[in-house]
Amino acid sequence: MSSISDEVAADFKDALQDLKVNSRPEISNLTLIAKENTEHAQAISTVLENHIRTARPEWRLPSLYVLDSIVKNIGTPYTVYLGRGLYKTFMEAYSKVDQPTRKAMEGLLRTWKQPVPESMDSRPVFPLEMTSDIENALNKMRSVQAQMQSQRQVHALPARPVIAAAWRNTPTPPQNGAQFGVPVDPRARQVPGQQFEQYPQPTPTPDQFGQLMGSVDLNELKEEVGKLIATTQQAFALNYSDPSLQQKLNALLQLKRMLDTQTLPPQQLEAVRNQIRALAPPPAPTPVQMPAFVAPPIVQTPQQPPTLTFQPPAAAAPMNLAQMLANFQSPPAVTNPSPAPAPAAPNLADLIARMTTPQSSAPNPAPFYPPSFPGPSASTPVPAPAPAATPVVAPPNNLAQLLSSFNKPSAAPPAAPTPPPFNPALPPHIPNLSQLLAHAQPMGPAPPPPNNASWLLNALSGLPNAGTPSIATPIGSESMTRQSSAPVNVQNDVELTTASMKQPRLHLISRLYDAKPNICTTCGRRFDATPQGREKKARHMDWHFKMKDPDAAKRGVHRSWYFTEKEWIEYREVDETAPDDTANGPSGAAGRVKKQAKDRYVLVPQDVTLAHAPCPICQEKFEPQWSKDANDFVWMDAIKVGGKIYHATCWEEYSKGAGIATPSTPDSVLGKRTAETSTPASGKKLRAY
């Protein structure tokens, strides 16, 4: 390995070390680096493998996505180098990560058995021998687990469909593992104009309300909040550029203030506590009271013999053995019957160690005496190893949406929101924080501004913020587009005279270089070493990624028309690093569910000249058409921009090239203005959990 290889590898390692969430821009950046350094593929592959094997469990998935992105986007020689150690890399990571991550990994594995979507090459990403070795090993593991699980069912209390009840009022159905079947190939998902898409997230673990507990000790709760604040602060200190952490912290502080200053009814305290625990699982000894999952849909009755075939883990009990064991070893809750003492706990690493020969197909469950488990509540997650890594476990119900019913458009919070009725017959529905806050607001000197409840909740739940961009983007709301060159403590005293031009002032050059130490390796643009700078760079990298469109040529790209004088005068430059909620924002804002261009329409204009004007782009006239939706005559595939009406498809094409935003709802001609328009601030989306 040459010294350059070492250097490249070291750089790559550094970049990997920063990758803590599934940040698409960072992943694409790493992919680009790998692509540009294929001559050092071996060194890079080694670094990547080592990282996946040794990084903290919660950072492994992002780096696996890097591996995935590299093999799919670059292919050889990376597939060769990474293929060699794939079994080991995969299995070692798999053994250490939590259940949602495993699901995601399984999803990745599936895609590796297939060709790269839309690629000319019909061969699978990795040779089938490699992937099938891994699969065999996984199957073995599953069968062992399935056995243990069925054993556990024997001892378990009858499962109650708790979750179903808890989810009753959620507008979004709970996610299930199916989504991980989606190929992760960025190209397959990359639609020009869409940005800030994320790699799929691990399935959020089911949310943890579901059962009412006894009264909540307020002091205890405050303490828990306090602890969570402390860990979040630590995490924030390590990663202060992460707006979601910052938000979470703000939200927690807000919550603390609320707890300190207001009296909340017991159920609400309960809900708060549950949510807090969902965010930061208390240490193991905490009573295992929160049912965290449903019983599998196919409940195995105690009579059924343990089955050795694999049960799809979709809705099944958690399979993170480490967690199960941690639970198991913790002192049993007082309220629950004590389980029988456990036999020696097997650990996954052992389990895998026993299976390192992929060829052996005989499951080897014998040595594992299935432990018994207390109640349906098998999982109190093990505390995360380090604060920085505490994964924010998002409740699967979309709180943001739920909230929108409380903080509906501009209306003040409803005077008396009706809490969902408690049905004593069913597992009680716990009001969630949003409802709680909606109640809380009228009760005391509520500190939050109007939309704060949603902001707070979103922040707490780690969901993208809906509808409160001004609060949601504390960073973005600063002037991002204009930052004068950061002086590196050098006075710029250059006078505008002929003599002055000749003086050497090499010290000033640092303003052009060191002041912005963070360089884009693709185009050479520099960024500040500030959180804002990093955020801009992330958006910038995402932009680069978006622009690598291999199919562009096929579509017949052409030169667009120039602006008219008026358009030019009114145009405001779009910086590809600007958050996309700025006036001219680049088209295809983050995750925006864009209305299909051809489905757009405008009412046939009353104005005579406008009514006779052709599409300024293609000069084609519009044909009026009756629209049931609008209950009026409309022009289909039309959009009004700056007083002119264009074909929506023409405009889209044009604006794509020009980097102009397609107005999401022009002049209120579209019937419905739905949640799709509330775009989460992209900066946050990048890091959304």
Binding site: R511, V557, E620
Partner: protein, 463 residues
């Protein structure tokens, strides 16, 4: 309007021997404050990759480990800190220069930057800079460097090109203005105007006017157009704070620096229309002294500064300039990058086109300027253009699609901005049809199109 597949667009330009002659690369070490100067013909290409250190090309930083390919270019890779380059391909000439003018370009930038910062604080207008000097003095290179440094410093400078011999973000013969908020394209010079697909460097949004003459003649078109552009640029800056405080830089043709007996009417006109605050004179002592005499002590105190011409500036032959213009025109229709653009060929009846051409007597640079106080038009309304019926005379020429209706007055046509250009591939006088190359599909524009007398004809644009 029908598309004509027969135009055989596949055969874009006879592909020159663009591949590097050898795949071997060589290493070039540069110590701090030196530059590697090169010239590479249109038939060859030269690749440059920054291996270590930092380097810039007319102010725009080279990305590390990225290979840049130059063809038909003359330029210099400069380093403030020292660097190692990996160079491939064949240069017509290449050498390392120890003495460069980069420090004065940087000083000029920092001086302007101080003005911009002040302007920003006061919500005032930033520096409005005019760059003048004889041909090949390095004006365009300086403008580029100043723009690049400003962009790098987070500014959004506007650049105005008034040189018809070389286009900026458009074809030669056009005058353009564009605000730069994103990095300049090292290989393409400035970057690219919008295209319908992804672009590796952020696109720039030029405002384009058609000048269509080779020289800055006196009177009929040049000055009114300057007036018009100044109006547009000023309007933009007035309500675009980012543009306002960053100000603008105007690039000019060497010809305006010639003047007559110490009087530079075109320069004076530009200065007054654009309210120039700073004049950078490249090279010429005489021009500097004439201008500073006139402006330095005037009431509105315009700073007049002289910068030395860089030893790297090369005199460019007519052949080279012509090839450069052809490359710019080709790039307008077909793009520059490997991916390329797909223009559209179409056929139109004579009656579908309203073609105007500047009258011969208005085009000459020697025409006596009749300064009667009327709007810079020695020519009265509607005497600027003549309507032309398509004939073999317009074959291989560019037609500027204006925003003016054919029925509007000549001044309106002259002042109208341009939406794009058509290329006349063929005229069939018998069938009264014209074969055109358009940047994109669609109908032939019903607006006035202006046929320039400049740039020179481009044969073989379409195969």
């Amino acid at each position: 309007m029908i598309a004509l597949p027969g135009l055989n667009l596949g055969a874009q330009a006879p592909e020159p021997l663009n591949a590097p002659t050898t795949s071997a690369t060589r290493t070039q070490e540069l110590s701090a404050n030196t530059e590697y100067r090169f010239e590479v013909s249109f038939a060859r290409s030269l690749t440059i990759k920054l291996v270590t250190g930092t380097a810039e090309y007319f102010g725009t930083e080279l990305a590390p480990a990225t290979t840049y390919t130059f063809s038909g270019a003359k330029g210099a890779v400069f380093t403030w800190h020292g660097c190692r380059l990996e160079i491939g391909g064949e240069a017509e000439s290449e050498y390392v220069a120890e003495e460069t003018q980069m420090m004065s370009a940087a000083n000029a930038h920092f001086a302007l930057e101080a003005l911009r910062e002040r302007a920003h604080q006061m919500r005032d207008a930033g520096p409005r800079v005019l760059v003048v000097g004889p041909e090949n003095a390095g004006k365009t290179s300086l403008v580029k460097t100043l723009a690049a440094y400003a962009v790098k410093s987070g500014q959004q400078p506007t650049v105005v090109n008034l040189d018809p011999r070389q286009g900026m973000l458009s074809v030669p013969g056009s005058f353009t203005a564009a605000a730069f908020s994103s990095i300049l394209d090292i290989e393409e010079g400035w970057g690219s105007s919008p295209i319908s697909g992804p672009s590796p460097t952020p696109v720039k949004m030029p405002l384009v006017y058609h000048y269509g003459l080779r020289d800055a003649e006196e009177g009929t078109v040049f000055r009114p157009l300057v007036t018009r552009m100044a109006l547009a640029v000023t309007s933009r800056l007035e309500d675009d704070p980012a543009s306002k405080s960053a100000g603008f830089v105007i690039d000019t043709p060497g010809a305006v620096a010639q003047g007559r007996a110490g009087v530079y009417e075109n320069i004076e006109h530009i200065i007054s229309e654009f309210s120039v605050t700073t004049i950078l004179v490249l090279g010429s002592e005489r021009l500097y002294s004439d201008l500073s005499r006139k402006y330095s002590n005037s009431a509105d105190a315009i700073a007049v500064i002289r910068l030395d011409k860089s030893g790297g500036c090369v005199d460019r032959s007519d052949t080279y300039m012509k090839a450069l213009r052809h490359a710019q025109i080709r790039a307008y229709f077909f793009g520059n990058s490997e991916a390329g653009l797909a223009p559209h060929s179409q056929s139109a009846g004579f009656e579908e086109l309203s073609i105007f051409r500047v009258k011969e007597e208005c085009a000459g640079s020697d025409m006596q300027f009749n300064d009667g106080g009327d709007a810079y038009g020695g020519a009265a309304e509607d005497t600027i253009y003549e309507r032309v019926t398509p004939s073999s005379e317009i074959v291989n020429k560019l037609l500027a699609i204006t925003t003016a209706a054919p029925t509007e007055g000549h001044a309106a046509i002259r002042d109208a901005s341009v939406r794009g250009y058509l290329y006349v591939a063929e005229v069939d006088e018998g069938k009264k049809r014209v074969k055109l190359l358009a940047p994109q599909p669609g109908r032939v524009p019903s607006t006035a199109v202006v046929c320039g007398r400049w740039p020179e004809d481009v044969a073989s644009l379409v195969g």
